[in-house]
Symmetry: C2
Subunit: 559 residues, 2 copies
């Protein structure tokens, strides 16, 4: 692909606010105090990058950044909301999916990371349904195509207008020669349990399926005539809200902007710093512990609001990961460092764990930490965690280290270097497989997990013991540590980035799979391949020629 526009422009920023939305409208209290309406109304003239128009409610990253923001604000800022109607304002179109011209003009890395971001937004919708007492109803009052239908698939229920023409479809394969990029195939057969042979027919029909057949094939959950559509949707949203009325929500906390400081080779947040060495293609990502003892009651935590360390530090960490994914494509190896007082982190974790059952806000903070760590698991960079004399490998920050591909731990003479366990290591921040990071470390001997947790409850675990417990990957003394680490980073940075991406994705999710790991692992791999094949993105590839009069010319060889 000649034009690689998306990989060499101004950096992308991820913070927004409903007041700044250009593509979505968030209404609280839509016909009922417990119902919100999230309306897609994409402004064609405000794409992320110049060069294409976002017609027919098609989306790009700018649109999804707003959707992601809206879903998170619903969880934190609007505890009165129990059901969300996801709908559109266009005549006869719900959403026509990812913008094809944007994809055609984007480089490979951007395409893959765009899909990963949109997948994570949809997984956050599903997590909010499973854990946050929010139900999502896709109200499809018109054509629901490709990524538009995949957005609907991420909702709890799909209502389709029965107007004789509106269809749901995944036309990527027949029209574009690529796969649905946002989990559509997996959600069809795994989540909605559409029969695989019907899914095959559906995914090769550019025009999609409408009406009774869509219902019979489990592609949608209800059909509503046009005349009763809005009313039927509202009724159903109220009913969905009732299903989750007993999940604790709130108190409301406004998500203040992070406003990091951007320097040429550094991004500084309050608790997080990302330092870039672009020549070496490496970075250091540091997370600092709270500077003072954290609040320990639900009320006091909520009073700190967006300034609560446990919330802010992980929002910052996630933003830094997005910066790496989208703005620093050549940074292949990242050192994960921590610093500060482990006791403060352990205290913060304990307080959150104790309060998460009663306080919706505290539960949301924990869930956000978990999403952030899963984003780390799914980021295609090599991560080496460092635990040395300055580190704070405690609780939720120890999870950061356990998410890394390796943990380098200093064996200091004083015996002061240690890891500190907290309730956060027991599974509250589990991986996408459903298992905790400690459990994934001990698939060979599951009983060890409980023993490690019990030992952690007694106090800090110094290096030698952490090594014996399988937490440290490489241990070195003060004479060798820096050299060992430096050489490992240099070696890592010299390897093929493609092979590392495939290797890391294959090793990070051992054991049982979930829908999320299937989407992030397998689907991403297929996409990676298909996006790069001439049949999709070559001069006469289907994606390249979309919307042009020429027909694509395929090389027919099957693999």
């Amino acid at each position: 692909m000649a034009a690689d526009a998306s990989e060499s422009r101004d950096p992308i920023r991820f913070e927004t606010h409903p007041r700044q939305y250009r593509h979505w409208r968030l209404e609280i209290g839509a016909g009922d105090p417990s119902v919100a309406r999230l309306t897609m109304d994409v402004d064609p003239s405000y794409p992320l990058r110049p060069g294409y128009e976002l017609k027919l409610n098609s989306y790009d990253l700018a649109v999804d950044i707003e959707l992601r923001d809206a879903v998170e604000r619903l969880r934190f800022e609007h505890p009165e909301v129990r059901a969300v109607i996801v709908t559109a304002d266009l005549d006869r179109v719900f959403c026509s999916g990812a913008n094809i011209y944007m994809l055609g003009a984007s480089g490979h890395s951007f395409k893959v990371n765009f899909c990963k971001f949109t997948n994570e937004t949809r997984m956050a919708i599903e997590e909010a349904s499973a854990a946050s007492g929010l139900r999502f109803l896709a109200a499809c009052k018109g054509t629901t195509a490709g990524g538009g239908y995949e957005l609907a698939l991420a909702c709890d229920e799909i209502a389709l207008v029965d107007d004789g023409s509106s269809a749901v479809s995944l036309p990527e394969t027949p029209l574009l020669g690529v796969l649905p990029g946002t989990g559509g195939l997996t959600r069809l057969v795994d989540k909605r349990k559409v029969r695989r042979d019907r899914a095959d027919v559906f995914c090769t029909m550019a025009e999609g399926v409408k009406g009774k057949r869509a219902l019979e094939w489990r592609l949608v959950d209800r059909l509503l005539p046009k005349s009763r559509f809005d009313e039927g949707v509202r009724e159903r949203a109220v009913a969905l809200a009732g299903q989750v009325a007993d999940v604790p929500r709130g108190p409301a906390v406004a998500l203040a902007p992070l406003e990091p400081t951007y320097e040429s080779d550094r991004i500084r947040y309050r608790h997080v710093a990302l330092e870039l060495d672009r020549a070496a293609r490496t970075a250091v990502l540091t997370v600092a512990a709270p500077e003072s003892p954290p609040p320990t009651t639900a009320a006091k935590m909520a009073a700190e609001g967006a300034d609560l360390w446990a919330l802010r530090a992980f929002r910052e960490l996630r933003d830094a990961l997005w910066q790496l994914r989208f703005n620093e494509l050549d940074i292949g190896t990242v050192l994960l460092r921590t610093r500060g007082n482990p006791a403060h982190v352990v205290a913060a974790d304990r307080a959150l764990a104790d309060a998460a059952g009663e306080s919706g806000f505290c539960r949301e903070v924990l869930l956000l930490q978990g999403r952030t760590l899963r984003a780390l698991d799914a980021t295609a960079r090599s991560f080496f965690a460092v635990v040395d004399a300055e580190s704070c490998a405690a609780g939720c920050l120890l999870e950061v280290a356990l998410a890394a591909d390796r943990v380098y731990m200093l064996d200091d003479e004083a015996g002061a270097v240690a890891v500190h366990l907290s309730p956060a290591n027991g599974g509250a921040l589990s991986t996408a497989t459903g298992k905790s990071r400690l459990a994934l470390r001990w698939l060979a001997d599951p009983d060890r997990v409980a023993a490690v947790l019990a030992r952690g409850a007694e106090g800090p675990i110094p290096t030698a013991e952490a090594d014996a417990m399988g937490i440290a990957t490489i241990v070195a003394d003060e004479i060798d540590f820096d050299d060992e680490l430096r050489i490992a980073v240099e070696e890592r940075a010299s390897l093929s980035p493609d092979a590392l991406t495939g290797m890391e994705a294959s090793l990070r999710f051992p054991g049982a799979e979930s829908m999320d790991t299937k989407i992030l692992g397998r689907l991403s791999a297929w996409q990676n391949w298909i996006f790069i094949r001439p049949n999709a993105t070559g001069e006469r590839g289907a994606l390249t020629l979309y919307g042009k009069p020429e027909r694509p010319a395929f090389r027919w060889t099957r693999t």
Copy 2:
């Protein structure tokens, strides 16, 4: 890649016999009557294609065709064997993996299908261990690298010589910029439960891991000094044989060659025919039922030996699939047809199911049918099954239809077209997920499976009822059927082969995953991508430059 040698030569043939082996030696009764020795002794001068030498016990498809044959003959022809020592005859080398020059000279499709074939050989080793009362001991008396170590990983146990230099390794990522292609990553963390951080270190160390560390990291199961190696291996093999002494084996049945007739656009076997329309890029694969009532006792089935329909028809079907995979790369769409008397198939299935518990031979026939059907599931072509007036959609042949992406069923006026269930549809021939093909069809309503099986026990299920039961995908009457099918095939054949491959792989394995689906689905996808990237196979890619003085030049962008 300019040279695409492997995709335009003489067709590859898959039949062989120990007397013809050039690369392996199969010895029965190796120190003990219950122990066989399978010795890799690759003749460098007999590669599959001219152009490279198979030095240092490196392998190509020719080598793996022999290994596959040997493992299957051990199951059918040598019931006295309970343990197999897999070893090598070279000084200081067990096996150095897939031949890199072969990979470098091979086209993309060949590479992917080569890996799929070798994966299936290793899965057959694991299946023989799980179900056939055979244990495999990898006796690694020297360097065990890449595919060599992956072969060892497929065995039940790995013994490594403790000579201060022999190591096990997966050097693909650091040396070649690709992934281990035969399930190594998945088997490391899923089967052997090696800690993921240690697996990360191991997979980036070109020199591998030896001695005590290999044992401590669970990379091998025992270390033996050189002086005691052969003796220790023999002792251990005898002990392994003892573990499975109570699994029924035999009677021995010699696997006679299939000897199909090759015509320009057709391959004819006794019960199977593969008819090719290369201009349309389509094929018809037909399997015929037994021509007369099949034998119904274990003794009579064994007396028919390799001529037993249930065995021969599925060996033929599998050979036809290999022909498609390796010799007919542009055939994208395959119609699966059956013909003959359904009663004979149902009788054959019943007889096998009844006898499989007592007769090792009958169990092996069932297992071979299952492997064949899983090979169909894993073949990257679009399969449409046809059930019309000539068809025999019964039992194990109905499984062929259920493995297809779609089932086209004729709704005839006479009501004679029907499907016929047998014990083979109840799970004996399950998919790689562990679930039966009927169960995968009814993930949404698992209770339906038992109801369908119960109804099937009562007699044939005509089209309308099969449609209502979810067995048929598309039903059409006699006026429309041929047109419907013709148009569907033409449409399918017009779509991007890459997108279809990814789509089919994503839809064929809904629900829970197994190690096999992870290897075939996810790993294959990663390989597909990595093999095609310039970082591996470009002019200055790592795979291209292997063995040359130049260093690879990587484009560093991460995805």
